[in-house]
Amino acid sequence: AGCSGKGAGGSESGKDVITVWTFPHYRENAETGQKSYEQHLQELIAEVEAENPDIKVKYEILSWEEGDKKFDIALNSGNPPDIFFSVMQPKFIKTGLAVPLDDYLDDADFADLEQFAIDNFSIDGKLWAISQWISIHTWGGNRKMMEEAGADIAKIQKEGWTWQEFYDIAKKISKEENGKKIYGFATQGKNEETLTHLMRNNGVIKSVTEDGKFMWNGDKAVETLNFLKKMMDEGVMPKETAGIDAQKVGDMFNAGEVGIYGRTGPYQVRFNDNRNKEIEAGKIEGEKIDFVLLPFPHNEGEKEVATGGGGGMWLFKQKNYKGDKHTENAAKVLKHITGTKSSVTAATLFIPPARKSGQEMFADLLQLNTDNGKFIQRTLGYVVPGAKLEPDLAQKQSQILNDGIRPKFQGFLAGELTAEETVQQWTKVAEGILK
């Protein structure tokens, strides 16, 4: 192909060229016979090209770290790809180049999509992307360690657990064994994700409401922070949490240093299975782990709330508008590569596909009948989306996050601020921004 590509769009042998930018979700595994994400995408593209001989699809797999930035630059240069994979980003909408999908979808499509998937990508009453999956946020646990500490895992997965119940188990797991420290709980402290999960399960579902009110300003926030503090003080959770990232948490869990850990997802079931297989095959050293997905614990008297998200395919036009026909073609491609068959991607990642038809089609792959599978199904029922904010307000919210919550929370984890000071300070930032 070499030098043939000349920017997005344009035509090649009279065909309408549609550009797709997406990310490498998983790679090929020759032993399990699993294809790579790229291969799955290629299949879908081949189909849509066969169906529409006037369309040529060009796709690019971006790298995770910098892909967003590449897209940001392309978008702000007025030259985004036609289709892009992303989570919900109100700022995309604000540029005026994102194209709402309502006109290109029929009722059947809407019916097939999980309601959460629709809600997640709706703003202004318009749908901005077709979700590929519902990525549920969960916690994860080491069955052996938890059961030794007296946990009834089946019950937890079915009915949830309270902060206290969680704390008791975690506390029991924590110990120091011949110089090696074992923690009941660990989570990454680079951002406020875990805090968000706990806040939602302490009755505060949104940090900023649709009408522009800041909700993380009161006792509930202090209480939640203090719960974390207690765990750090008591050695249930590493006191270095502020400097621990997700990768490190995973490593610690695999090394048997952690019983329960924060923020993983169904995908981890697959990774864990693969790891166990490799250990069995003697390819790598290590202990096999029986991995269980866990719900977020909720505070006594508060409702259990699950958190989810999900990436989807967005449709864009270019500043140099290429015509309605082109947009239509792009929408066609988008629909196909997010269609029922595309659920293979979600299923491969062991995440529930956003399309109900997809969940059915790949039921085997999803192993929905296992304990973990059942837990996922249950979670889908009570996952609550965050506030659906206007782009402007969304931007303010992210500014509150960047300038207030995240830095102060980091300061709190590092032991530099008390819970009260933390809440006070970020409230002040939030009020300044929302004013």
Partner: protein, 305 residues
Amino acid sequence: MTVAAQTTNDRWDNIKQFIKDYGWCYIFIALPFLLFLVFTVYPLITAFVMSFQEYGVMQSTFIGLDNYKYLLNNDIFWKAMGNTTIYTLGTVPVNILISFFLSLMIFPLNKRSQTFFKASFYLPAVTSGITMSLIWLWMFDPTRSGLMNIILSWFGIGQQMWLASSDSALFSLMLMTYIGGHGGGVILYLAAMGGIPRSLYEAAEIDAAGWWSKMKNITWPLLKPTTLYMLITGVIGSFQVFEATYVMTQGGPNFATTTIAYLIYQHAFEYYQFGLAAAEAFILGIVIIVISVLQFKYMSSDVEY
């Protein structure tokens, strides 16, 4: 022939002569300069215009000095300015000194050892900044199993939080530059040291100067031009430091490592406030220019460029 005709003729002659005399000079810098105009100056001018706008892809609105005003009244901007300054003050002179002392130690060695150490100090530069940052992120693991903590424990020093504490995060980033990354400086210093006449040292030896006196009174002052060069390029570089913050700390914790360059990135790509980012860049640019001019003025009294 009329007078007027003569003068136009003269003028034409003058132009022809000018082209004959200097034409080549301009041709020599023309192509580089043209490319430079297109790919550096033009984007810079566009960015400069952007700094007076609220940028939008479809259309930008002119808002005068609002971006600049906003920044000058913004706490985070000043915090970042402070961090950047501390970082610059804490890295550039220290690193120059380290390079200087390393060179000082290498210089008296024989050729083969010189080559060996030069290569040793330069080679870490061949790995990309991102890879380096990733490795360091790993070394700065705040738990007991972090490499840096393990090394410290050999010396009986307790566990450090490194990047995880506001107190030590910026210092950790600086520490990273102290170790490694002196290859260029060492090469430049060694070359310059080779240029100092031997007779000066011999004169000093007869003048009863010891090692320290020779170093302080001869080597160091005579390396001023090189030091100035490294100071200026170093300041330019460190005022624009971005990669380490971006990969390792994202400005945290609690803004302890937020640098101007990182702030620019945040404004540009997180909020799509390109106008604001441009304004920030130009404020930073002015600061750097002022500092460079001051350095030139202060340092170059003995130095000929």
